[in-house]
């Protein structure tokens, strides 16, 4: 035999055919944040490391940790068991925790050696993300922003009580710290033309968002006391005096309308009423935003369309007509009204918050092409306009959405621009998700654990100022919440080359993930596997490894923790209580994933005493049969020690005194 089969195989890291499948949270996140990894680091109590993981894909981690629309949570597999992981809140917890721990992150210092420069119009999330990524690629970005301060709608739209300005400032400072230049107070079209930018820079990115409020041609719309959402929010956010009356009517049912109403609630002692076409269930605002608004005493009148703003010289009220349906059969927005069912809502101020649109007046006739609706003609694959070298990203081309979508488009545009500039870089990755949890696992095997709630200041207190409403999960709660994560797709990987079809994994897996047929092991189903690690500890051919905390990583952690001698604790994430608080610890999702070899390794690597924690006396713990496996391994290791005339008590099993996590939300 000429090639080195057996030898090389024994150094192979186990893999499987579906190793490329990623957890659905990551796949759904528009920037494909490695959610599982940062959530895991929060669970372990390593917020600074968690923040660093978030940063790998997200240039505005603290901002997004506060205001993300978190589509990821809709697909989180924990939601199939009870409720999704509070993915967004945990991102904030990573930032808060890192801050509390005094961790300072120094931004990378890319070299802009090639002399290439890109002009970016707009400093919203899309422009900032593109700038960040281009800078990392060594291309110098210069952002032009018409407002006095950068941030786009994050600054001029979203209010301080949801996103404190200092948080936005911190995230932006990181980006400018990388050498991204932001020239504020410069309006393209007014101060510099698009043509000039096109000539002076190697490429231009239009990321101007949707800066104009839409209005409705209502009778009375020109009365004093009527205003539009975006200018109103800009004033409030800039701290300018806003003259609001005592009864405020907000027209609109989306997230922006909610923000307007909540701002009005804080500025006026009077009543705030939202009026929207949609029924309660159809409202476009997120359920949690609607709840926040209602909690703050805002009235929401659903199913009504504005007919006229009433008043003589000053707003006195809004006449509304009953809305019969909002969407047509094909789901398009096409409201129908009953013109005879009218009513009046009294009020002295009307704020119209029915949508935003772009201002592309700076695009000259011979520049990038606009379509008949006045929108940029645009290649969605390359984020390119019809003019070579001029690209576009963010809401100006995607339409309204969430900030994280704007980030995603900015990042993809950066890739496209870099390629246009001749850089050889890979496509933006588009991962594929693992499937659903099988019913038996979901209904019978995964322990229920209630989601932790984000604490907020009391309603009566918070409506009297613009300070942040959500106060952040404390460390204990954040870690408990994070440890609810099912590590989807983070479990067993097996190598077909190394597998000897011994069937051990088939016999020991409590969830039935590995299957075999008459020809041997068929595979380990990633949808089913819960990452308990039991098969990994027992596979005699070492054909199995774990995706999350692989053998190599585990060995490295053991070696590091045991190096100085002393006591080592193999702890478990879930109870969050240590059995040997003074000892150095290797924290794991269940100690059931420790093989005898790994226990012995701790002693070999220098530990003088090893504690192995389990969170209860029973067989299961967090995973089915997890503790049974831990006990068996400890017992075996102890008898092996005795066998070599060493004290079996060098390795000892201990049950944690108190479980902070598994008790449930009330505990």
């Amino acid at each position: 035999m000429s090639d080195n089969h057996t030898l090389t195989r024994s150094f192979l890291r186990p893999i499987t055919g579906d190793a490329h499948l990623r957890p659905p949270c990551e796949v759904t996140c528009p920037i494909h944040t490695d959610v599982q990894r940062y959530v895991q680091l929060v669970a372990e109590g390593r917020p600074a490391a968690a923040l660093a993981v978030v940063r790998e894909t997200n240039p505005l981690p603290q901002v997004i940790g506060r205001i993300c629309a978190h589509p990821c949570e809709e697909d989180c597999r924990r939601g199939q068991v009870d409720e999704p992981i509070a993915i967004c809140n945990l991102k904030r917890a990573a930032g808060d925790g890192a801050g509390d721990a005094g961790a300072v992150t120094v931004p990378p210092q890319p070299e802009f050696a090639g002399g290439r420069q890109v002009a970016i119009i707009g400093s919203g999330p899309s422009g900032l993300a593109a700038a960040h990524d281009l800078a990392l690629l060594g291309v110098k970005p210069v952002i032009f922003e018409q407002q006095p301060e950068p941030g786009g709608f994050l600054r001029t739209g979203i209010l301080n009580f949801r996103l404190p300005k200092h948080i936005l400032d911190e995230d932006i400072a990181y980006i400018t710290g990388m050498g991204v230049e932001i020239r504020t107070g410069v309006s393209i079209g007014r101060d510099i033309t698009l043509k000039e930018l096109d000539e002076q820079y190697d490429a231009v990115l239009i990321a101007v968002g949707l800066s104009l409020s839409r209005s409705i041609p209502l009778p009375g719309a020109d009365l004093p006391g009527v205003c539009l959402a975006i200018p109103f929010l800009e004033d409030v956010n800039a701290g300018r005096d806003v003259d609001l009356g005592k009864e405020i009517i907000v027209i609109g049912g989306g997230n922006v309308a909610i923000d307007v109403a909540r701002a009005a609630r804080r500025l006026s002692a009077g009543k705030v009423t939202m009026v929207c076409l949609e029924s309660d269930q159809e409202m476009p605002a997120h359920a949690w935003e609607i709840k926040d608004a209602r909690d703050e005493g805002i009235d929401i009148v659903c199913g009504q369309g504005p007919k006229a703003i009433l008043g003589d010289g000053r707003v006195e009220g809004l006449e509304v007509k009953k809305c019969e349906s909002v969407f047509d059969d094909s789901g398009r927005f096409a409201p129908t009204f009953c013109e005879t069912e009218l009513s009046t809502i009294a009020g002295d101020t009307v704020i119209i918050a029915i949508g935003q649109m772009s201002d592309l007046s700076f695009v000259p006739g011979n520049g990038p092409e606009l379509d008949q609706r006045g929108l940029l003609v645009f290649d969605r694959r390359r984020w390119a306009t019809t003019r070579p070298g001029i690209f576009a990203s963010g809401e100006v081309v995607t339409g309204p959405g969430a900030a994280v979508n704007a980030l995603a488009s900015g990042r993809r545009a950066a890739v496209s621009i870099a390629r246009y500039l001749g850089l050889d870089i890979k496509d933006y990755p588009e991962p594929e998700a693992i499937g659903e949890l099988p019913r038996r696992v979901r209904e019978e095997q995964v322990r229920q654990a209630p989601r932790r709630r984000m604490p907020t200041r009391p309603e009566d207190e918070r409506v009297s100022d613009f300070n942040e409403v959500e106060t952040g999960m404390g460390e204990v709660d954040a870690r408990c919440e994070a440890s609810r994560c099912l590590l989807c797709g983070g479990g067993a990987r097996y190598s077909q080359l190394k597998c000897i079809s011994c069937l051990t994994c088939v016999r020991v897996c409590p969830y039935g993930a590995p299957t075999a047929d008459k020809d041997g092991l068929v595979g380990i189903d990633a949808d089913v596997c819960q990452a308990c690690g039991i098969c990994f500890t027992q596979c005699p051919a070492k054909a199995i490894d774990l995706e999350v905390v692989s053998e190599q990583e585990l060995a490295a952690r053991i070696d590091a923790a045991a190096a100085g001698g002393g006591t080592l604790e193999f702890g478990c994430w879930y109870p969050q209580t240590r059995v040997a608080p003074e000892a150095r610890a290797v924290m794991l999702p269940c100690t059931g994933r420790l093989s005898v070899t790994m226990l012995l390794r701790a002693l070999e690597a220098g530990a003088e005493k090893v504690y192995v924690a389990v969170c209860s006396e029973d067989d299961d713990g967090h995973f089915v049969h997890g503790h049974r496996q831990t006990r068996a391994a400890v017992q075996e290791a102890r008898s092996l020690l005795e066998d070599i005339d060493l004290e079996p008590d060098l390795i000892e099993l201990k049950v944690v005194a108190e479980k902070k996590c598994l008790k449930g939300a009330a505990g």
């Binding site: 035999m1 057996t6 000897i500 051919a541 070899t597 012995l600 070999e604 020690l641 060493l646």
Partner: protein, 222 residues
Amino acid sequence: MIVTKPKPFRKIKQFTDPHENILVVGCNTCTAVCLAGGEKEAEQLAARIRLHRRRQGLGGSVETVTVLRQCEHEFNEEIAEMVEGRDLLLSTACSIGPQALAERYTGVRVAPAMNTNMLGMVKEHHVWSEYCVACGDCGIYKTGGICPIARCAKQLFNGPCGGSQGGRCEISPDVDCVWQQIHDKMVSLGLEDDLKKIMGPKNWSWSNHGGPRTLKKEGFQP
């Protein structure tokens, strides 16, 4: 399948203590499937030896490598580089493995870390039972598919003996009387009359009573 069991460490250390540079050689076939001497167990044994040697103040090195099947020279060939400079090869294969190593690596001392126990079958995870003794003349057609040589304490051909009590063997109440099982099986197959025929003596020369066996099919050797 061949089922092995690790020797007690007090035996193993007698082999390893006098040596300096030890290579524990695992086998990833039978001895791995019976969870005794595959790659994982070989690594674990190496860890134990290292801990022991450290405690005894013995120097040297203990490393490990595993081949797919130690009973084939081609596989053992692959580890030549790793064998270089060792003074002991400790095999976790069935006893064929260390003998194969000894044949190939003539200058190095070889030791078995395992006892080769039986030809057996897994009953449940980590439980093995003996089913065959490699007699060379399988007769289970006549005994309901159950081997009385491997599974009767007295290797009777015409059982049961008088020690069969309530379905148990007289050697221990934990051991089933295999002749009771054979009887029950033949009854259930409607073949109890066959049991009344005396089985003649067996040709033991086909087992290793006839000296070491070699099998060869002529004409196919390349």
